[in-house]
């Protein structure tokens, strides 16, 4: 949940990268950490990993500088994607102000994408939030694998599977190359800050 300090004109919000296991959520944060150096206000912390699977969460604090007279700080989190980490995933999601849903474009992940989005819907509902109202963007990751001839879902298929009802902004991406990462995050931040403006009226 966003914290707005009226005295210091400082707003801190939380963006969560959600999605199926092995879909590239951590790679997104690694790319952000590597690329947007001037916005990074702390280390990328991974708690904890088993091999290269996230067991708990990754955390990266960033600063957006002054927006409408307010110092905007953002905490980026990833959740563990594997089904067995359901309780940790729910804990990390708590208080999220915006969500980047990282879907995996690989055909073998089609079902896992849908299950993960359903899981997000259920967890938000448990926190009294609607997936239709929360600031949310979809990122269709691993698009670079098309060129290498791997079985990848068409964007249209992903849209039908995941975005038919939500109708939220979506971005083809390749987190490993950085394509679409910044755009998805930027849009998510934009939606989140607009939402918080309505809720907190922080920009006056």
């Amino acid at each position: 949940m966003a914290v707005f300090n009226i005295q210091t004109r400082e707003i801190e919000c939380k963006i969560v990268f959600y999605g199926p296991g092995r879909g590239g959520k951590t790679t997104n944060l690694e790319y952000i950490h590597k690329t947007f150096r001037k916005n990074i206000t702390g280390d990328l912390v991974s708690i904890d990993t088993q091999g290269d699977r996230t067991l708990f969460f990754d955390f990266l604090p960033i600063g957006l500088g002054k927006i409408k007279g307010c110092d905007v700080k953002v905490q980026l989190f990833t959740v563990p994607g594997q089904p067995q980490y359901a309780s940790t995933r729910k804990l990390v999601l708590k208080g999220a102000d915006g969500i980047v849903f990282v879907a995996d474009s690989l055909k073998v992940q089609r079902k896992n994408n849908i299950l993960s989005l359903q899981d997000l819907h259920d967890n938000l509902k448990d926190y009294g939030k609607s997936i239709f109202r929360v600031p949310l963007v979809l990122q269709y990751n691993k698009r670079d694998l098309i060129k290498e001839g791997f079985p990848v879902l068409e964007v249209d298929t992903l849209e039908k599977d995941l975005n038919k009802q939500l109708k939220v902004p979506s971005f083809p991406a390749s987190a490993i190359k950085g394509d679409g990462v910044g755009q998805a995050l930027k849009k998510c931040l934009e939606l989140t800050l607009q939402h918080l403006q309505k809720e907190l009226n922080w920009a006056g």
């Binding site: 708690i47 904890d48 290269d52 708990f56 955390f59 804990l91 992940q109 009294g128 001839g149």
Partner: protein
């Protein structure tokens, strides 16, 4: 597609899944590949290929076994525990309560031993000791050390941290209830702890209920958080509870119309489970309990 191309394509896909940590998918592809190669006897170096694929399958199985054996939670470093506490423990003005929340957060992230260590001092805190005890018990349950709960609760009773009745209730609400005979001093009271076999005979309309256990939802924990409340007045299956104004979390969770799907009722002769509904809620405006809240609950469908 030519056989050679097919083999190349499946192998490439399997390698990709392996490199991305999608071991189940990689395993499936390598098995398909093995079947395919086994079906064509004319393939050059067929046995070598089969052997290499079997090696890969073996390596993947080892990885999967490793992940299975590791369990859901692993112990993290002290530094990372501090980060977990900083990021996820609800910040409270009261430093003591903050410490309590931190201990609770560690348990939520599977750091059970540390949570027990940090939670134990709160057994001396009258306000928090019951919640602390319940969380310590949950940690031991999560660590599959249910047998320790009985002796631990017994010690708490000996040290006068909890009364006989409180100790029984703590055990009853845990998995250790099946082992609870050891806590019992009076064998006649054994029904008190164990759930009645014939629940039909325990009608809430004729039983006097001392206290109720309610699982709160929406408090942000992994599981619903149980709280125990004393009954101040009872008429049939309608119970009145007085809740201190300090218990904001409980008050906020129990609005009129809220269905309580998992309730425990403690009476002098038995403990039973049931559901309930909040009928009314109002703040007491005068007298010694001024400011506290009165809650009326109707018991439904005892099971």
């Amino acid at each position: 597609m030519e056989l050679k191309e097919k083999i190349y394509s499946i192998n490439k896909e399997a390698s990709l899944y392996y490199s991305q940590g999608m071991y189940e998918e990689a395993l499936g592809k390598y098995r398909t590949l093995l079947k395919l190669i086994s079906a064509y006897k004319g393939i050059k170096n067929r046995e070598d290929l089969q052997s290499k694929i079997r090696e890969k399958i073996g390596a993947i199985n080892k990885k999967l076994d490793y992940y299975d054996s590791e369990g859901v939670y692993t112990q993290v470093s002290s530094e990372k525990k501090e980060i977990i506490k900083k990021l996820f423990a609800d910040v409270k003005d009261d430093p003591e309560y903050k410490k309590f929340e931190e201990a609770l957060t560690l348990a939520k992230f599977g750091q059970f031993s540390d949570s027990v260590k940090e939670m134990t001092p709160f057994l001396k805190n009258d306000k928090l000791k019951t919640e602390a005890a319940r969380n310590i018990i949950k940690c031991f349950e999560a660590m599959d050390q249910v047998d320790k709960i009985i002796s631990m609760v017994s010690n708490w009773k000996d040290e006068n941290i909890f009364s006989e009745k409180e100790a029984r209730q703590l055990v009853e609400s845990s998995k250790a209830s099946v082992l609870s005979a050891e806590v019992e001093e009076d064998p006649v009271e054994s029904d008190f702890i164990n759930e009645p076999k014939d629940t039909e005979s325990f009608s809430p309309e004729i039983m006097e209920i001392d206290s109720v256990g309610i699982k709160l939802t929406g408090s942000g924990g992994v599981d619903a958080e149980p709280v125990e409340l004393d009954v101040s007045f009872q008429t049939g299956n309608h119970l009145s509870l007085i809740i201190s104004s300090k218990e904001k979390r409980i008050i906020d969770n129990l609005d009129v119309g809220v269905k309580l799907s998992d309730m425990c009722f403690y009476s002098p002769i038995a403990v039973f489970k049931s559901t309930g509904i909040v009928l009314s809620k109002h703040q007491i405006s005068s007298g010694p309990k001024k400011g506290d809240w009165c809650l009326d609950i109707e018991i439904k469908n005892p099971t």
